[in-house]
């Protein structure tokens, strides 16, 4: 069985010369649920953008679903890796919820009946089955987060990569979103500042700081290591 995500010695420098990732290595197996934590600017979002080839680096290797990040593979990688952006407004670029959820499916050239069925199923999974005709633009933050998740669930990815899934949600919205995430079977890599979410949902934790992996282990161990948390600005 292949590792779902394999990152070897990945370094990345932004065009303006800022070093965002330094020699990051990380393996994630099928079905694992992993948290990616670290202060703002640690490189979490940059790392996530490498997982479906939006950013590519010449230093190091990234493989997802057993596929190398090469131009000819990117289409398949993007079918396998569902990336949910932090700000749902970025994810939702179509006039209606239906159009947004259907985007990936129509792009893949699926027949209309299947598109409709999968959109309905994805919206049902995230608990907003009757939202199809609403304008994405007019939804609340919690609803937008759900639609954003549905847009990738509809594509039936092997891996879900989530950037700050609970940011901006009120306690009730956060609670129901965590319950929703718990019900999903996919491999998950979740970048977050929400340590309670990590504790509840993600058995493994990777700490990123200054573009480096500074800790990788069982969540129970890492979240009780007070000096480690303090050193990387993660104390609660």
């Amino acid at each position: 069985m292949h590792h779902t995500i394999e990152i070897e010695h990945l370094s990345y420098t932004y065009p303006d010369g800022r070093r965002a990732l330094r020699d990051v290595s990380l393996q994630i197996g099928m079905g694992e649920k992993v948290a990616l934590v670290g202060p703002n600017g640690a490189g979490k979002s940059t790392l996530l953008l490498h997982l479906n080839g939006i950013l590519t680096s010449t230093e190091g290797r990234v493989r997802a679903c057993g596929l190398e990040m090469r131009k000819e593979n990117l289409g398949k990688v993007r079918a396998g890796v569902g990336l949910v952006f932090q700000n749902p407004d970025d994810q939702l670029f179509s006039p209606t919820v239906f159009d947004d959820v259907a985007f990936g499916l129509l792009y893949q050239g699926l027949p209309e009946a299947e598109v409709r069925a999968r959109v309905a199923q994805a919206l049902g999974t995230v608990g907003i089955a009757d939202f199809g005709s609403r304008a994405s633009y007019r939804l609340s933050t919690g609803e937008k987060k759900r639609v954003a998740l549905a847009t990738v669930l509809a594509m039936d990815p092997e891996i879900l990569v989530l950037d700050e899934p609970t940011s901006g949600l009120d306690p009730r919205g956060r609670r129901s979103f965590i319950t929703l995430l718990r019900s999903l079977p996919q491999t998950m890599l979740v970048a977050t500042h929400d340590l309670n979410l990590v504790r509840e949902l993600l058995p493994r934790t990777v700490v990123l700081d200054g573009g480096r992996v500074v800790a990788d282990g069982a969540t129970a161990d890492i979240l009780t290591d007070v000096p480690l948390l303090a050193a990387h600005g993660l104390e609660e």
Binding site: G75, V77, L83, F85, F93, S94
Partner: protein, 268 residues
């Protein structure tokens, strides 16, 4: 974030960079006015102006090639002057056949070439100005030159949020790219959707950006009101110009005035 790649300012340690932004803005405007006032056919004057622009480009260390190619942006606008090719009276050069029945004249061609060259020249100086002056300094210079404050404020806000909007567009494009996938087992299926569908998606994205820009404008205005904005933009006064800067300004303005005068007397 990433949109800052759009900023035309190129930090260098040149004398042009060190010049006071008020002097630079004043001289750039004077250069553009002189270029515009130079009568058609005054080629020697054009060449002197071109030499001035090249010299400034060299002094600014921005690179002559960079300035000249960037200034080509002006050419599409020169197309607006195409009608002078056929509307200027003079010796016929070429007659188009019946349905158009237009006659190109030698004078028309010279005039068009002059207009295209003049707009290219003007944009060269503007490219050097924005390449050698950080935008906030340029805004202060606009205020110092008594450009209406509201106008300067609008330009300033546009500059501030242009990057925000560009970043937003970039993130939308990324989100689209992330979901532009090829199915694992869909051999032979046409991927990518029809042209009409792709156009509709792009239209949706533009509409989304537009709505958000509107919303953002409302929020920005509310935040300005919350801090006491009353329609009047205020800024701290700038220190007065030093003697050396006055000298540069005076010499530059005098040279340009002489050129304009020579143009009028000899060709006007």
């Amino acid at each position: 974030m990433y949109g800052h790649d759009l900023d035309p300012y190129r930090p260098r340690a040149s004398v042009v960079h060190a010049l006071d932004p008020r002097v630079k803005l004043g001289l750039t405007l004077a250069f553009i006015v002189t270029t515009a006032l130079t009568p058609p056919g005054a080629w020697p004057i054009y060449i002197v102006l071109f030499a001035l622009a090249l010299a400034t480009a060299l002094l600014s260390e921005l690179g002559v090639g960079y300035v000249l190619t960037r200034a080509l942006l002006a050419l599409p606008f020169a197309l607006a002057a195409l009608p002078v090719l056929v509307t200027t009276a003079g010796a016929p050069l070429l007659s188009l056949p019946a349905p158009l029945a237009l006659t190109l004249t030698v004078e028309g061609v010279a005039r068009f070439a002059g207009i295209a060259f003049k707009s290219w020249l003007s944009v060269q100086m503007a490219v050097i100005l924005v390449g050698s002056t950080p935008f906030p300094d340029l805004l202060l210079a606009m205020r110092a030159l008594k450009i209406p404050r509201l106008l300067a404020a609008i330009v300033g806000l546009m500059w501030r949020y242009l990057f925000v909007l560009a970043d937003e567009a970039l993130r939308l494009l990324r989100a689209r790219e992330s979901r532009s996938a090829v199915p694992f087992n869909g051999r032979g299926r046409r991927v990518g959707g029809s042209l009409a569908w792709r156009a509709r998606v792009a239209g949706g994205m533009v509409g989304n950006l537009f709505l958000r820009a509107f919303d953002r404008a409302d929020r920005i205005y509310a935040a300005m009101l919350a801090r006491g904005y009353d329609g009047e933009v205020r800024a701290l006064p700038r220190p007065p110009l030093r003697a050396g800067q006055w000298a540069v300004l005076g010499a530059g303005l005098a040279t340009l005035a002489l050129l304009a005068l020579a143009g009028f007397l000899l060709w006007g």
